[in-house]
């Protein structure tokens, strides 16, 4: 009986309007958040760091934290890149477990990721080309360089290259920083 009374009291047209409007607003707000790129990691770092150049940042601390929730377990080298009028060449050495290299699109999605293995060093040599069909000249003849484990070409307009050296404690920090300093991202034709 109570259910029947409730059934009669409820204005089903208003209920339908409520759910429809709530669903539409929910979708609009979500897609607006997806497309609002002002607060992404790329947007934040691109404002602070030089473009097309690898920069080793200071160790994360409460007074020097570049991004929220950025793990303080590693030392980072960042390179915000833009391939509007150039291509990028990325080289890095990942000597031990925990070392990684990631290439992120401006929206934060991973375009490329490499992690070092425990038993051997990994050398990375990547080219980033514009994500359109522009002709950039003929590439040099393909040749696998000695000691290079990964040679790959990635298409991206702009984004972030991140090399991450895990913090293994004070005795290893200078060595890690020296290896991190060898990571490069340079602009130029492939």
């Amino acid at each position: 009986m109570k259910l029947l009374r409730l059934w009669r009291i409820v204005d089903w047209r208003l209920m339908l309007i409520f759910f429809l409007v709530a669903a539409i607003v929910h979708l609009v707000v979500t897609f607006m958040a997806v497309n609002d790129q002002r607060g992404t990691a790329y947007a934040r770092l691109a404002r602070m760091l030089p473009h097309n150049m690898m920069t080793i940042t200071d160790p994360a601390s409460p007074h020097h934290q570049l991004l929220p929730f950025l793990a303080p377990d590693a030392r980072y080298a960042f390179c915000p890149f833009e391939t509007a009028d150039t291509t990028m060449r990325v080289r890095a050495l990942l000597p031990d477990l925990g070392w990684t290299l990631g290439i992120y699109a401006a929206d934060g999605s991973n375009l490329y990721f490499a992690a070092a293995s425990a038993d051997r060093e990994t050398s990375i040599d990547l080219s980033i080309v514009p994500a359109d069909n522009r002709f950039l000249g003929l590439p040099p003849p393909a040749a696998v360089q000695e000691g290079i484990d990964t040679q790959q070409t990635i298409a991206a307009q702009r984004g972030l290259i991140v090399v991450r050296a895990p913090d293994r404690g004070e005795p290893y920090r200078a060595e890690s920083k020296a290896i991190l300093a060898k990571a490069t991202c340079t602009a130029g034709r492939i």
Binding site: V25, H26, T30, F31, G39, A71, G108, F113
Partner: protein, 218 residues
């Protein structure tokens, strides 16, 4: 001859006019209230699902939340919006498992006024880290400059498992200071090996996530 009887149209009484106007106003108010409520619910539900996730975008393993598709190019809109609004830089779910905990294993909010013991299993061949942040993702200032432990820096138990304590006061062993931070967020990151992880190995990894036990609050 048929005759048509015309009825004289009586003007409505002032009372019935007032009643009709009140009824229209009530309906309009109901509609406006419904629309306002629907807009509020739509905005709130979107923000909540983008900030905290939902079964549509996250998996839960005890207190640990894992964004299923984060960092993938074909991620769902909630995962993409999560990265766009929070400014997080996350390794793709294809290459690492990144787990966030805002509660202990009993479901109570993590808070700096409490002490916690985090017990984790041995993860052979996997590099991992455990970091603590305040609710806004900031590191917690402390004299020891200690914000995280990794599989390289932790002092493990003889069998490879580990125990980390969270609390305001210094403790022997693997202690992470949380003084004055308010609500806490723990982030546990496990990198996949260079050769990748099978679905079975990934499921096994997710079963081995640390347990967060509250010891007491002050």
């Amino acid at each position: 001859m048929a005759s048509i009887e015309l009825q004289t149209l009586e003007p409505p009484s002032p009372m019935s006019l007032v009643r009709v106007v009140i009824l229209i106003l009530l309906r309009a108010a109901g509609l406006i209230l419904t629309l306002m409520l629907a807009v509020a619910v739509g905005i709130w539900s979107s923000r909540y699902m983008v900030a905290r996730g939902s079964p549509l975008s996250t998996d839960s393993y005890g207190p640990w939340e894992h964004w299923r598709d984060i960092g993938r190019e074909n991620a769902d809109p909630y995962s993409k919006a999560h990265l766009a609004t929070t400014g997080k830089l996350r390794i793709s779910a294809d290459s690492a498992g990144i787990f966030e905990a805002r509660t202990d294993s009993q479901g109570a909010r993590l808070h700096s006024s409490c002490n916690y013991v985090i017990e984790g299993a041995h993860m052979p061949g996997l590099w991992w880290s455990l970091a603590v942040f305040d609710a806004r993702g900031h590191l917690i200032a402390n004299d020891a400059d200690r914000y995280a432990f990794t599989s390289d820096t932790i002092a493990p138990n003889p069998n490879g498992s580990f125990i980390v304590t969270l609390g305001r006061d210094a403790r022997p062993g693997n202690w992470l200071p949380t003084s004055g931070a308010g609500r806490l967020v723990l982030v546990f990151t496990v990198l996949d090996p260079a050769t990748g992880l099978s679905d079975e190995a990934r499921a096994e990894r997710n079963r081995m996530l640390p347990v967060i036990r509250r010891e007491g609050c002050s």
